[in-house]
Amino acid sequence: MDIARTQRPLTPLGTVTAAQARTSKRTRYLFRALLISMALLVALPVLAVFAYVFVPAPDVWQHLVDTVLADYLANSFWLLIGVGFGVLLLGVPVAWLNSMCRFPGQRIFEWALLLPLAMPAYIIAYTYTGMLDFAGPVQTFIRDATGLGYGEYYFPEVRSLPGAIAMLSLVLYPYVYLLARAAFLEQSVCVLEVSRTLGSSAWHSFFHLALPLARPAIITGLSLALMETLADFGTVHYFGVDTFTTGIFRTWFGLGDSAAAAQLAALLMSVVFMLVLLERWSRHKARYHHTSGKYSVLPKQQLRGKWGALAIVVCTLPIVLGFLIPVLQLLYWAFTVGEQSIDQAFLRLVANSLFLAALAAGFALLLALLLGYGKRLDTHPVVRLSARIAALGYAIPGTVIAIGVLIPFVWLDTQLNNLSKAGFGLSLGLLFSGSLFTLLFAYNVRFLAVSLQTVEAGLGKVKPTIDEAGRSLGLKAFGVLRRLHLPMMQGSLLTALLLVFVDVLKELPATLVLRPFNFNTLAVRAYEMAADERLADAGLPSLMIVLVGIIPVILLSYSIGRARAGSKVQA
């Protein structure tokens, strides 16, 4: 065919010129550079901590080795073991009951079992100490009833290692429950039915089939709970159980040795990274444990009589111990005995907390959108790696982040001050490390993963063909974002905001270390009151935190409700 003859004179082609094509390439490189530098910035605290491994701190380090290091190691180790068993024992049976059986109240237990997630570990520790220590109502009642005096009867000490294990297990088991339940629901009924036709009893099928199939998911939940355990500062500090986090805190503030504190932090980080690897590995494994792409509604076994009653007790216990009793105690403190009233100062506290949390959530959402879109638009491996690094912060304990943030910014402030003193003869003060900047920065390092995950999940639901359909119907790139993506992702964006908001509100150690002078939040207030042995006055701020903490629980249970058996379940 002769194309040349049919060719008409060329008409000018739109507005896209070669120069503009080059610009778009340059924008892409600029955008890529932005993402990489963001990831580096987020990784800065970790890098700072590990950089100090090579700074010698022989005196303090030797002192630590001689005195407390063995305690830190032993306590952290037993805490991990104890909480590990605790969350498995509390989380797995209720997950099994709720996915495979039907009993009175089961629909309620399904979401109510998540309630303890709303309770920060340090707050539950305050409530049980208030109830169970020597002057508390329980021991007073025992003395009144029996007439025994101090030292004449045995009562377990709450403020101890076993106490800390119990507290942490009670609020962290929902991680295991959530993931195990999703895994049980994902298992094909056929596998279990095949096992029954091959002569296995229901119990045998559970231990030899369902449990091994769900193991990767359970390990994922377990490693998340253990990361939280290692990150915990408030509980172990209040109970006087010396672990890594309290050790880092004390070395930094008590001994004033940043190198030794950073080295302790680096040691802690190494353990945490092992947990991260465990989590990644088990998530990876979980893919091979999918038994079927087809899901049918699980035929749940009806439990009646004593079995039904037993199921109810097993499911009620964690909710009562991990949520109801502490909340009742907090209510009692807040509204009857506490001297803390809702006055000007308290409202200022609330305003501070909300302002800080909202600001941090907004920033985290912005960064998450940037990273999320970066990953969607630019498939270069460097960009993917950047997003991954930026999301690593969720594993890093707040204490470590606080130190990792302080080290570089204090250095930067010192340099700036030296410069300005030399140049203009005036001192700038602590420009970064003394302001809200470092605190917001630390929050974003720690919680960026939360918003990133939510934003990515939302973006993932927007198929690439939606973008193309929008373009072919006349939308420009920004129009696709505004008219298609934003309305479709509304829910995810709101969720991302809320989750970070609540996490920031609950966060204690980073806030404690990094807050500007005289700037208090609810969490810090509760901590200070409890540290002053004014537990009742810690009630009101604690209650506020717990109430706000219920928001993500509602969100979670909503998504659980939609992802019932028979539909695909996302862990």
Binding site: I3, L13, V16, A21, E468, A469, G470, S472, L484
Partner: protein, 366 residues
């Protein structure tokens, strides 16, 4: 390659030497073709042959590494420029439909008509819903519709802005096998009523046959043959097209003279490819419907009138309702298939006689 050009009709889409490369590998290689106004064209080929890439290049989602694409009077793509998809006035129906979940059906269909007045939009929406047989569905949401209904909405949405050209990327792939042909006929009717020029991409030849005026068979980024369905079936240009379209077997033959080849089944007359000297080896395409099994009772009478008749052993059979598809083994071991009415039911291993009834002898160079 021959491309049928009707000089009288106006050319709507013109591709000249179009290539698309990812990194260093070319997914589409030097394709040249013309599609006339109102024509329904189809790109047919196995997965990975580059048909979807070509479609996306026409839509403006892929840049060209060589060649030009011209729509009506305008060059819309060449190696330097790629006119943005939103400025091409080309509609597209996606494999997964890509309906906007947050908008109702009316919102979806009216999406591309933002510059028109509200009254106009509403009128066009109801007109299109009428056309796709879903009148009254304006306020429903995509997730409330069945797959087939979603598909028709996706079609209506793409047609709404009256595009110069409509592209359909495997539009029936997610439908049940039994539904596809019917849907394809429905869509063809709709497209003809709207008098739109369209390019369809599919790997299913029945879909292509049911829908397209002209079909391009693609393989490894190149168009093997650009022709009508009838010609693709009866006059394939090369062994790939012969094999890909319909069923059939190749048997070996040898050229005797420019009009005759000799095969194990005897001599056959047809157009021997140019450049084949007497004595050179060729392949002859035998379609299952070319092979007529001789009913035993009538055998002697028919045998005398048929061009030639021979015997074969039945090696396998598949019941297809109205027909049996038999695998026959000839004396020299060559296997061919035969389509027989379902009352001709033979057991495996039986020797049967057959004649060849070939109106389109296809001879390909070996």
């Amino acid at each position: 390659m021959t491309i049928p050009i009707n000089k009288a009709a106006s050319t709507e889409l013109q591709l000249c030497d179009v290539s698309v490369s990812y990194d260093k590998t070319a997914a589409v290689k030097a394709i040249t073709l013309l599609i006339e106004h109102g024509q329904l064209a189809c790109l047919l080929g196995p997965s990975g042959c580059g048909k979807t890439t070509l479609l996306r290049a026409i839509a403006g989602f892929e840049a060209l590494s060589s060649g030009t694409i011209q729509l009506g009077q305008d060059i819309i793509s060449n190696t330097q420029h790629t006119l943005a998809p939103e400025r091409r006035n080309i509609g597209m129906v996606f494999q997964d439909f890509a309906l906007f979940p947050h908008l109702d059906i009316a919102g979806n269909i009216a999406f591309g008509m933002r510059k028109q007045g509200r009254k106009q939009r509403r009128q066009r929406v109801s007109e299109l819903l009428e056309l796709v047989n879903l009148a009254g569905y304006e306020r429903r949401y995509p997730h409330e519709l069945s797959g087939g209904q979603q598909q028709r909405i996706a079609l209506a949405r793409a047609l709404a802005p009256k595009p110069k050209l409509l592209l359909l990327d495997e539009p029936f792939a997610s439908q049940d096998m039994e539904l596809r042909e019917m849907l394809a006929r429905e869509v063809r009717q709709i497209l003809q009523q709207e008098a739109v020029t369209a390019v369809l991409v599919t790997h299913d030849q029945h879909e292509a046959f049911a829908m397209a005026d002209v079909i391009g068979v693609m393989r490894q980024g190149q168009i093997q043959q650009w022709d009508t369905a009838y010609n693709l079936y009866h006059q394939p240009l090369n062994p790939f097209v012969a094999d890909f379209i319909g069923e059939g077997s190749m048997i070996n033959g040898e050229v005797l003279n420019p009009h005759t080849v000799s095969t194990v089944l005897g001599e056959a007359s047809g157009n021997v490819p140019l450049g084949c000297q007497p004595g050179s080896p060729v392949s002859v395409l035998i379609r299952p419907d070319d092979v007529v099994l001789t009913p035993e009772a009538a055998e002697p009478a028919l045998a005398s009138t048929a061009p030639f008749s021979t015997q074969a052993v039945i090696k396998a059979k598949v019941f297809r309702g109205s027909h049996f598809l038999y695998q026959l083994q000839l004396v020299d071991g060559t296997r061919i298939s035969a389509l027989a009415p379902s009352h001709q039911d033979y057991s495996l291993g039986v020797t049967v006689s057959f004649t060849l009834d070939m109106r389109h002898l296809v001879i390909l160079q070996r």
